[in-house]
Symmetry: C2
Subunit: 329 residues, 2 copies
């Protein structure tokens, strides 16, 4: 990628994950100029990890062809519980030992740039709002579908961070208060307990006990019973796999309706590995939303897959840096 044709100022976005760090330089129009990936090495503790964050940032700038002095500010997206405004990680489940960590100021110290911290799913939502599937709109709700179900909400161009940095924990709304499934967080009945990739696999394993003839059984025997495998078997016509995907669409529609009846955004987006299930899965979600939502939002709210893929996090984090430190447009 080249810097020619890009518009200053430039922002460095860094997306911290439990396994990998993704980083890139983004121009003032939200176009990525570079993109690099490094292992987080989370298990080696926060000192190593923060050095890796800084290294990922430096490499992204080097790859962009820009001079370090041309970087106006840095945005860091991170998983886990945090105090966004204080720039602190509190108790991130996927980064053991990184608790009570002033990650923003530590990183700012290493990079020598104004730095902003944001929740990773919030940052991804901001990326989609800025230059992705929500470009040009005023509000959106994003569900990130992976091991868990995360979320980000933008209203009037602002991330709903929440008073205690717990805004948009959309996987942890209660959709089945009585008799609900156990969530990874320890509570019951949460959307994540039904609709995450992990939950889909768990539901498949339970269902296989009653329907051992399903072709999912072979996947289980081959140690390949993943969300992707279930989608593939559904596409191939396996009745159990089809039912599991159908139910997953409904669970996501329930979550979407809850957000449509509280935020009522321009658009509801889904991102993450599960959107590999493709257009038919999205159409099932849409159909279930239309059946459950109030008539006006049911007919008017757009429901789409996100567009930025794995780049949403660093692009959005760069956008947060631009919003925090850039000149207002």
């Amino acid at each position: 990628m080249s810097v020619s044709g890009h518009r200053p100022p430039f922002y460095l976005g860094i997306d911290l994950g439990g396994t990998n760090i993704k980083s890139g330089v983004v121009d003032d129009a939200g176009r990525p100029i570079s993109s690099v990936s490094l292992p987080t090495e989370a298990g080696r503790g926060p000192d190593v990890g923060i050095n890796n964050l800084a290294e990922a940032g430096r490499r992204a700038v080097a790859e962009s062809g820009l001079d370090w002095s041309q970087i106006a500010a840095v945005g860091l997206g991170s998983p886990g519980t945090m105090d966004i405004r204080a720039g602190l990680l509190l108790d991130p489940p996927n980064l053991p030992g990184w608790d009570n960590l002033p990650i923003r100021d530590r990183l700012a110290g290493l990079l020598g740039k104004p730095t902003v911290l944001q929740n990773d799913a919030n940052a991804a939502a901001y990326g989609e709002f800025w230059v992705g599937a929500g470009k040009g709109l005023a509000s959106l709700v994003l569900f990130t579908l992976g091991t868990g179900v995360g979320g980000g909400i933008i209203d009037h161009g602002r991330i709903i961070e929440g008073r205690h940095s717990h805004g948009a924990e959309c996987g942890h709304i209660i959709i089945q208060m009585d008799g609900g499934r156990l969530c990874s967080c320890g509570a019951t009945g949460h959307l994540e307990a039904y609709a995450s990739a992990t939950a889909l696999v768990k539901r498949a394993m339970e269902a296989l006990e009653a329907e051992p003839t399903s072709s999912l059984g072979k996947r289980l025997d081959a140690d390949d019973l993943t969300a992707r495998a279930i989608d593939e078997e559904a596409t191939a016509g396996d009745p159990l796999a089809r039912r599991l995907m159908r139910e997953t669409a409904r669970y996501l529609a329930v979550g979407a309706v809850c957000l449509m009846h509280t935020i009522d955004p321009d658009i509801v987006l889904f991102s993450g590995g599960m959107i590999a299930a493709g257009p038919a899965f999205l159409d099932q979600i849409r159909s279930d939303i239309r059946a459950m939502a109030f008539p006006v939002p049911a007919s008017r709210t757009r429901v789409e897959y996100a567009q930025l893929g794995g780049d949403a996090g660093f692009i959005g984090a760069a956008g947060c840096a631009r919003q925090a430190f850039g000149k207002r447009t």
Copy 2:
């Protein structure tokens, strides 16, 4: 009430209900100077109704001792489906025949003042945010508990109206997607189907079939099985009534947790007739919230009853007029 000691400019707030119109003049600091109530006469159609709105406004100004020229702008809070920005009522269930009505501009024409339309529960939330239980805070979620369950959300001082004016329909989040109770809106599993005063009475009638010895049976025979009566019998020690109130608190806590995990406000408020159940009921809600919410919001989010009572609607509507047309402070 007198105008002395009040701070200009002054705003007229009008709260349209299916049965009554409440109106008052409010000063720039959110203090009400007058308050009048008139029958809506909704059944006589929108022409009569809009004249009644205007008359309620004129009487409120007359009672305030202000001259009409001192009123800067008018805010109208209304129930029902609407297009807030267009100033239209679309299909309000409690105002039959008032559909597709340009109520804002019709009222503005009669009163000769800049006029803003807002959803009634949103207006009440804004009132509580401006000068009530949320004064001085940045964000709040309000649940209005009556025949139905309404809601209002303020984030960073802004009402979340939603793209299609369906923001904060907090009674219509899905808390029991499978096997849920039938809601007045026709869908199933909504919070309102569990936690409204109407739902409480319905649950009591169902439970009485299994427990006919409950003292609620006498209330039913006396045609006095109301939410208030159930609370009274609970206070008097009736086991069924106690269980019903206990369950209601839990349902409200489920709704609160869903909003705490999406909006994560400074404070969650409850208003409406059911808050007559008093401090013990509120403590039950708080206790259930603490048991279900994530640790940080569970321990830090304030949970309170609203403070403005039946005046929240017109005070908040006046506040919306101030926000729309007043000079920024």
